[in-house]
């Protein structure tokens, strides 16, 4: 099968097949064409060449409606939810459309939506509007929507990126149930542990081609092997060891409180330190990060920068003054100007400093900066003049980093820096972050729900529960299992 966008070849002779009751994982680096293949199957994109057969029937064109009629359900990477509708309406949207009835029964919709929500054990108000939900909740709604229909093939495009371990587990529970019912499941993820845990068979993609196909029952692949197939490179994981060079914290917060989000937060960050903050959904870590960047002023507390009290940040400018950089959670809506060029995006943070007193830009210095920034990381498929939206997820994230590093920050706050980023790019990003901390003495705060990531990247970790710091330890003093348990302990109401 072949597919191209304006000369960018996204699928280049891809072969893929799946049988009843099979759970097949699809892995590959960012931008290798996983989502594109899914969209071809579901009829969102037409394909240029090749064959597509579903249930033995060959299709030259398939529409989304046709694909749904064939029993294919997709959980899209970007959710494809309707912000202006309630959770119940969203969950039942596909079946409403498919029913072709003229009138709708609002009460039945609500009832069936509740059933689905119960089935995967989540409590949400079905009358709430989706626009008010956070990413994880939206992901759950998208999953519910797919489960609400009867399907033969369920395609999940990175369903776990926004979910916590607990929720992932219950998702896997459901996958197993579906499998027992004979439903085929395509599972796309960058989290290889998950992949290896759930799948029966695996397809590894590279540059729009399948490079490996096989059942895990036939041959057990190791994580390293998968990575090798994906990237064509060997991959090693190193741990960050930190030794303090100075005892004055770059930033220290005391009794930091924001009503409804977090309270009584105390922590400090030394130069060269990488501190991880983790916790379950809704524990307030995003709010904490945003608050440290001045996006949501805290209600009370003290912020010390290099030992001096600077007061609570009221605006982003306050944080910028103290050379804090913030890489937001959602790069698409918060991190990048998708329509603007890669070059412009890379200097958007520092553009002001290239202006003279009249506000005129020094264009030569500016384009030097663009060159410097873009050459500091390998961004594949990049043309500086093209809009950023032409890049894939991991590469976009690198542009966000480049943008912030241009301003030479002292403190770097990374909010889920590797969500939806593949292993190759992930290790690139980790390497860069470690380098920054080690060589330039930058203090880094990493917010992540990926405990493996925390273990690899950080030298210290804070676990948050219900808006408070529940547990704080050096990475060396803890183990992965213990950290996971401490999250779970919260769930069970212990500790």
């Amino acid at each position: 099968m072949y597919k191209s966008f304006f000369g960018v070849v996204a699928m280049d002779g891809m072969n893929f097949s799946i049988d009843e009751g099979e759970v097949r994982c699809l892995v590959g680096e960012n931008g290798c064409g996983k989502s594109t293949m899914i969209k071809v199957i579901s009829g969102v994109y037409p394909f240029d060449e090749g064959t597509l057969s579903i249930n033995g029937k060959e299709y030259r064109h398939i529409t989304p409606a046709g694909s749904i009629a064939e029993g294919i359900q997709v959980i899209y990477q970007d959710f494809s939810l309707f912000d202006n509708m309630t959770i119940a309406e969203n969950i039942m949207m596909y079946s409403t459309v498919a029913s072709k009835k003229v009138l709708i029964d609002r009460r039945a919709i609500r009832r069936r939506a509740l059933e689905v929500l119960e089935r995967i054990h989540i409590t949400m108000d079905p009358d709430e509007y989706v626009s008010g939900l956070n990413v994880a909740q939206k992901q759950m709604v998208a999953i519910c929507r797919a489960l609400a229909q009867d399907c033969n093939l369920l395609v999940m495009d990175e369903p776990t990126t926004a979910l916590t371990t607990k929720e992932v587990e219950s998702l896997f529970e459901i996958v197993k149930q579906l499998k027992a019912q004979g439903v085929a499941v395509v599972f796309v993820s960058h989290k290889l542990e998950e992949v290896l845990e759930i799948c029966d068979s695996i397809t590894i993609m590279r540059n729009g081609k399948n490079v490996y196909d096989g059942k895990t029952t036939d041959k057990k692949l190791s994580k390293e092997e998968v990575i090798y197939y994906m990237t064509g490179k060997q991959f090693s994981s190193a741990v960050y060891d930190f030794s303090a060079t100075s005892q004055t914290p770059l930033i220290e917060v005391k009794n930091y409180t924001l009503g409804g989000a977090f309270e009584d937060i105390n922590f400090s960050l030394l130069p060269g330190e990488i501190v991880g903050i983790t916790g379950l959904l809704g524990c307030g870590r995003s709010e904490l990060a945003e608050s440290l960047f001045g996006l949501r002023p805290a209600d009370s507390g003290t912020v010390l920068i290099n030992g001096t009290d600077v007061g609570i940040f009221k605006r982003v400018e306050d944080a910028l003054k103290h050379e804090i950089a913030y890489v937001p959670e959602d790069r698409l809506s918060e991190g990048l100007h998708l329509e603007q060029s890669i070059a412009d995006n890379s200097v958007s943070r520092v553009i002001g400093s290239f202006a003279n007193r009249l506000g005129l830009l020094n264009r030569k210095a500016l384009s030097a900066q663009v060159k410097k920034g873009l050459s500091s990381m390998t961004v594949s498929g990049m043309r500086p003049g093209n809009p950023v939206k032409s890049l894939s997820g991991g590469n976009q994230q690198k542009i966000v980093l480049i943008k912030w590093l241009a301003s030479n920050p002292k403190i770097l706050i990374l909010n889920c820096p590797t969500v939806g980023v593949d292993v190759g790019a992930k290790s690139d990003i980790h390497e860069i972050v470690r380098g920054l901390a080690r060589e330039q003495g930058i203090g880094v705060v990493v917010i992540s729900d990926d405990i493996y990531e925390i273990m690899q990247l950080c030298n210290r970790v804070l676990v948050m529960r219900n808006g408070r710091i529940a547990y704080q330890t050096d990475i060396g003093d803890t183990t992965l299992e213990y950290l996971e348990a401490s999250l779970a302990a919260d769930e069970e109401g212990l500790a």
């Binding site: 191209s4 304006f6 000369g7 400018e317 918060e334 329509e339 958007s348 506000g359 264009r363 500086p384």
Partner: protein, 343 residues
């Protein structure tokens, strides 16, 4: 790198250039002995500044993805303020230096009013979360309402002759008013392409939230866009005073629609974030050619309106069609490349 940076832009430019040339050629062909006369160009030079300035005022805000429908209402309020000050010089029969003093004061007053009006628009749009289109629609009613109360609806006339001279004479064959437009245009072009403010305008236009998260003071930028828009309106008001020697609450109301037309034809993205000054210049010229040409063809004002509408839709559809063609071509190219590989 630079030549690639403006890949899309150059296509817009070529398209607009073709449109302008076609209109010019058509008008010339139909009325050769009238259209090509110097007098005609001078006359167009007198007409263009008002539309041009208002279009720039609209465009500046459009870059941020917002609308400013009160450009003309702001201009008229400035005009009336300026008139109230300058008219005193006429009443006192002042000439020379003293008159110039009043002119200067009047200009200052007009500019101050323009800035304030712009600021009000910007402030409300930025802090109150009401769609800009509706905010500026109601401020249009408010500004015009104030103008009506001040003037009781009547025209005010009589600024010092020193100013009127500049509204109705040429320098190097080009009307002073057009020089003003050229100056403001150049200033705006520099502002947009060569300053960090212009850069930020585009960023704010293309993604408000990301700009905020990048540390751009989005509120400040958006307010400044409106304030600059108000400033251009005020400058236009001064030009109107000089040109017509009069001020009135409803002068040039139909220029709002034309300013939108001109901005969009000039390749400014209606969704914000993209602007191309060279296209703006061509867009102004082509609208003026069309307008003057139609009067010369003795066709009523409604033909003009009709032609503008057609032009707008034709130019915009052209975008789509050329994009579609390119898409087809790229698919073919890829297919061909693959066939080549296989063999």
């Amino acid at each position: 790198m630079k030549h690639k940076l403006h890949f899309k832009a150059d296509r817009d430019f070529v398209r607009m250039l073709i449109v302008t040339i076609i209109i010019f050629a058509a008008m010339t062909a139909m009325r050769p002995n009238l259209f090509l006369k110097t007098a005609n160009f001078v006359s167009m030079g007198y007409q263009l500044p008002e539309l041009g300035l208002y279009s720039l005022a609209f465009m500046v805000v459009l870059i941020t993805g917002q609308f400013n429908l009160s450009i003309v209402a702001t201009g008229n309020l400035c005009c009336i303020t300026g008139m109230m000050v300058m008219h005193q010089a006429v009443e006192k029969n002042l000439t020379g230096g003293a008159a110039w003093g009043y002119i200067f004061l009047g200009c200052l007053a007009a500019i101050a009013v323009g800035l304030v009006c712009g600021w009000i628009n910007g402030f409300v749009v930025t802090y109150f979360n009401v769609p800009a289109m509706l905010v500026t629609m109601s401020t249009t009613a408010i500004f015009t309402g104030i103008a009506i109360i001040i003037t009781q609806g009547k025209a005010m006339a009589g600024v010092p002759d020193e100013l009127v001279y500049f509204g109705n004479h040429t320098l190097l064959g080009i009307p002073y008013a057009l020089w003003l437009l050229i100056a403001v245009f150049a200033l705006t072009a520099v502002l947009i392409n060569r300053t960090s403010f212009g850069f930020k305008l585009k960023f704010v236009g293309s993604n408000l939230k990301a700009s905020h998260y990048t540390g751009i003071n989005i509120n400040k930028i958006r307010i400044r866009a409106y304030v600059y828009s108000g400033l251009i309106s005020a400058l236009c008001a001064i030009e109107i005073l000089a040109h017509t020697n009069a001020a009135k609450a409803d002068y040039a109301e139909s220029y709002v629609g034309q300013a939108i037309l001109c901005s969009v034809l000039g390749a400014t993205s209606p969704n914000g974030g993209y602007v191309r000054m060279a296209c703006m210049a061509l867009s102004m010229l082509s609208l003026q050619f069309l307008s003057s040409g139609f009067t010369m063809l003795r066709l009523g004002g409604y033909f003009k309106e009709f032609a503008w509408g057609i032009l707008l839709i034709a130019v915009l559809s052209f975008n789509f069609i050329s994009q579609e063609l390119r898409r087809r071509k790229s698919i073919q190219a890829v297919a061909k490349a693959r066939v080549g590989q296989k063999s």
